[in-house]
């Protein structure tokens, strides 16, 4: 198992360096000059030139690339063109917020997806199963930004049950711990739901198929022939096998969740990476765009690495290879 994990890690490292390269060159393919942002009659051309120099934009492309790669390896992502702060600082504030959101969405994805998928499989072809299948179809065919707006309309504007935006109430710092926790939970409900529900629908659909596939296997018949109860047969022998492909699916859903966070964070004004990315993209803030892309990609790589390791733990056929 350790050789397997090590091998996976060794594949991941060049992948990450490759990602850095791809990001850098994609950005510099673009026409348009980030300095255009500062072009202003009140700033003299000399000052512009100086700023260009300070930001390193006067250097040839390959020098910029090498400089960027080495500083990135040291965790230095440069200075934001617009915020005039180190990119690392901006991200340090944003990343935990995004992780909080995506992690909870991932949890929702797994729990709701598995539970609903198992129910649908056990009650195959019943009304419950059909309802679940149809709702799942509609949910993953739904644009998340629209679902978010509809939820805000219903739960915030019409019913007033949940806050429409931000991570916490304005005066949250004055609350006691429990009150603050509750405040955070109410702010989390809608974004987490909107972010996680589409992948949960996909997971449920997949889980249903996976469990039904497993139930047809010979070893399930063996388990029944032993005299085990149907519950044990399905939940011990069936579920354990059916969950294995779900792990891979979860690994694959990480890029979707991170991509979805752009939309969710924009709608709910959640101060995370996605919102930083959208702001930076509109402002042509290259260092920030580069860093956000790279970090998102690295998260995806780490996520799939984690999924592979979990897979190897669940499936003895890999564990003992």
């Amino acid at each position: 198992m350790w050789t397997y994990i090590l091998r996976r890690i060794f594949i991941a490292i060049p992948l990450i360096i490759g990602l850095a390269t791809v990001t850098f060159f994609i950005i510099h393919l673009a026409p348009g000059d980030p300095m255009a942002l500062y072009r202003n009659p009140e700033i003299s051309p000399e000052v512009m030139e100086l700023m260009r120099k300070n930001l390193g934009l006067d250097q040839p492309l390959h020098i910029q690339y090498v400089r960027w790669l080495t500083s990135m390896a040291r965790g230095n992502f440069g200075i934001s063109f617009t915020a005039h702060r180190p990119v690392a600082d901006i991200l340090k504030e944003a990343i935990p917020n995004t992780l909080q959101l995506t992690f909870l969405a991932l949890l929702l994805n797994l729990i709701a997806g598995i539970v609903i998928g198992v129910i649908a499989a056990i009650k195959q072809y019943s009304a419950v199963d059909h309802t679940i299948t149809v709702s799942a179809l509609f949910i993953y065919s739904m644009p998340s930004f629209w679902l978010g707006l509809m939820m805000i309309l219903l739960f915030s504007l019409l019913l007033g049950w949940l806050p429409a935006s931000q991570m916490q109430s304005i005066n949250a710092d004055l609350f006691g711990f429990w009150h603050r926790l509750w405040d955070r939970i109410t702010h989390l409900i809608m974004p987490v739901f909107v972010l996680g529900i589409a992948t949960a629908a996909g997971t449920a659909r997949f889980m249903r198929g996976s469990l039904l596939e497993v139930i047809r296997q010979d070893y399930i018949r063996t388990a029944r022939a032993k005299g085990l109860s149907e519950r044990t047969v399905i939940f011990k022998h069936g579920l354990r096998n059916a969950l294995i492909p779900i792990v891979t699916l979860t690994g694959l859903s990480i890029p979707f969740l991170l991509g979805g966070s752009v939309i969710t964070e924009t709608i709910f004004a959640w101060p995370g990476m996605g919102r930083v990315a959208v702001g930076a993209i509109f402002a042509r803030d290259y260092p920030v765009v580069l860093a956000v892309n790279l970090i998102a990609a690295v998260m995806v790589v780490l996520g799939s690495l984690l999924a592979d390791i979990t897979y190897s733990l669940l499936d003895p056929r890999i564990r003992y290879d």
Binding site: G18, P143, F145, S210, G259, A277, F282, V289, A296
Partner: protein, 454 residues
């Protein structure tokens, strides 16, 4: 012998009558010959399109003379659809007893499998109708998508609202749409506004005109809407007084074409790359597949946003970027297919015959890998439409005032509580489209290759 002859003659006469029937009413001939189902499937859409054409006859004929490209395309579409149904039905009637089965071909099995899947057939019909709506937009939309009518009165109208606009006749005989501004005794003052069917916004600083009361009433009466009044704002208006239904109809062209074309590009490119990687193998395969891994590591939306923001958002750019970020899955799929097909006898035989490599790939290998490619393409259109809508929503898609489903929803955010209809209906349109595509794709998958399930 005699009996045989009479039978043959009878069936000949029957066919001749059927051909005549098909000449005038496509499908009826087939129904007469016993192909009831196929006949109905041809007759019903033909009849609907025909009724539509007759109803909009004046606009359709006008479309060929005025220089309006959109209307011309719509009119041409109508003509082609009608001609297509007519021709197909005629050919089917003429060849009625010729294609009587010598067993079921692979294609026929697929077709009958697909037909049994009712949701999938429904999905396909919805998809086709959506494209028809998109093409016929100029005839179907009750308003021009950018027409504002009398903005003071027409903004934020709820669904089913009707706006009656007075019309006055000027001395030179022109009739213009007006809004009342003042009323003194018998005399009423109006300002002219733009006509609801045009998108020009009307004069910026309108000059007031004054007419007497009975002059207005007379004309307003003649223009009173008929009972099937088209000028109802079925889905309400936005803050500029533009009709939401019309904007959704016009926006469908953007969303549907982006999804379709971008997937077309992605699938073509992905098939090409995957075929090369799979066929040549070795170093080429390694390099291509590592690249695929890398691009797949980026969350697609991040990558798309970055690429689009680097340039100015134009529709062709959005299509190109969505195509450029969507080919990796296809490349992997095709590569796998080719790796397994490459070893099969018929490919080895093609080699032995000395056929060129591109010929082997495109003539002998790819056609055999087509089924899963078509299935993924269909299922991919749905997700691509979602991504394109998300881009529009973020303001990086098609730029206003051109309508797209995403940007209508985005504009709905401004007044979500007061004008819920703006954001709600385009969203439903997206859901309908994507659900239809997914049902269609699932059905294709089940029919073409049951092994592809989940």
């Amino acid at each position: 012998m005699f009996v045989m002859n009479r039978k043959a003659e009878e069936s000949k006469g029957k066919r001749a009558r059927a051909v005549w029937a098909s000449l005038f009413f496509p499908g009826t001939g087939l129904m007469a010959l016993g192909e009831r189902r196929l006949g109905l499937w041809l007759l019903i859409p033909y009849a609907s399109f025909l009724v539509f054409t007759i109803y909009h006859w004046s606009s359709v004929t006008a479309a060929f003379t005025t220089g309006d490209l959109e209307r011309l395309v719509a009119a041409l579409f109508l003509s082609f659809v009608l001609a297509g149904f007519w021709f197909y039905s005629l050919v089917k009637t003429l060849r009625w007893d010729k294609d009587e089965g010598t067993g079921m071909s692979h294609w026929q099995i697929t077709k009958s499998q697909f037909r049994k899947n009712k949701p999938a057939v429904a999905g396909m019909l919805v998809v086709l109708s959506l494209y028809a709506v998109a093409f016929l937009g100029p005839f179907l939309a009750p308003f021009h998508p950018n027409a504002q009518e009398d903005i003071v009165r027409s903004r934020y109208l709820p669904p089913l609202a009707e706006l009656f606009t007075p019309v006055v006749t000027l001395k030179d005989g022109r009739r213009i749409w007006v809004r009342q501004v003042r009323e003194v005794g018998e005399e009423i003052s109006y300002v002219p506004i733009s006509e609801p069917s045009s998108g020009d916004g009307g004069p910026l600083v309108p000059e007031a005109i004054t007419v007497t009361r009975d002059q207005v009433q007379k004309i307003a009466k003649t223009l009173r809407p008929r009972w099937w009044n088209q000028k109802v704002h079925w889905l309400g208006t936005d803050k500029f007084g533009r009709d939401i239904l019309s904007r959704i109809i016009y926006g469908s062209r953007i969303s549907l074409s982006i999804g379709f074309v971008a997937v077309g590009i992605a699938i073509t490119f992905g098939t090409f790359v995957g075929a090369i990687a799979g066929y040549y193998g070795g170093r080429v395969d390694d390099v291509i597949m590592r690249l695929v891994d890398m691009i797949l590591a980026f969350p697609r939306l991040f990558l798309v946003l970055t690429l689009i923001a680097l340039f100015t958002p134009k529709i062709w750019l959005i299509i190109a970027v969505l195509g450029a970020t969507g080919w990796m899955g296809t490349a992997r799929l095709v590569r796998g297919q080719i790796l397994s097909l490459k070893e099969q006898e018929f490919v080895q035989a093609a080699h032995a015959l000395g056929l060129s490599i591109p010929r082997i790939i495109f003539r002998h290998i790819l056609p055999n890998a087509m089924a899963p490619i078509i299935v993924t393409a269909t299922l991919r259109v749905g997700t691509t439409i979602l991504v394109a809508a998300a881009l529009s929503f973020l303001g990086l898609g098609v730029q206003p005032p051109t309508a797209s489903w995403g940007n209508i929803i985005n504009q709905g955010r401004d007044n979500l509580l007061g004008a819920w209809w703006i954001a709600t209906f385009p969203g439903l349109a997206i859901v309908l489209t994507v659900v239809a595509y997914n049902l269609f794709g699932d059905g294709l998958r089940d029919a073409l290759d049951p092994r592809l399930r989940d």
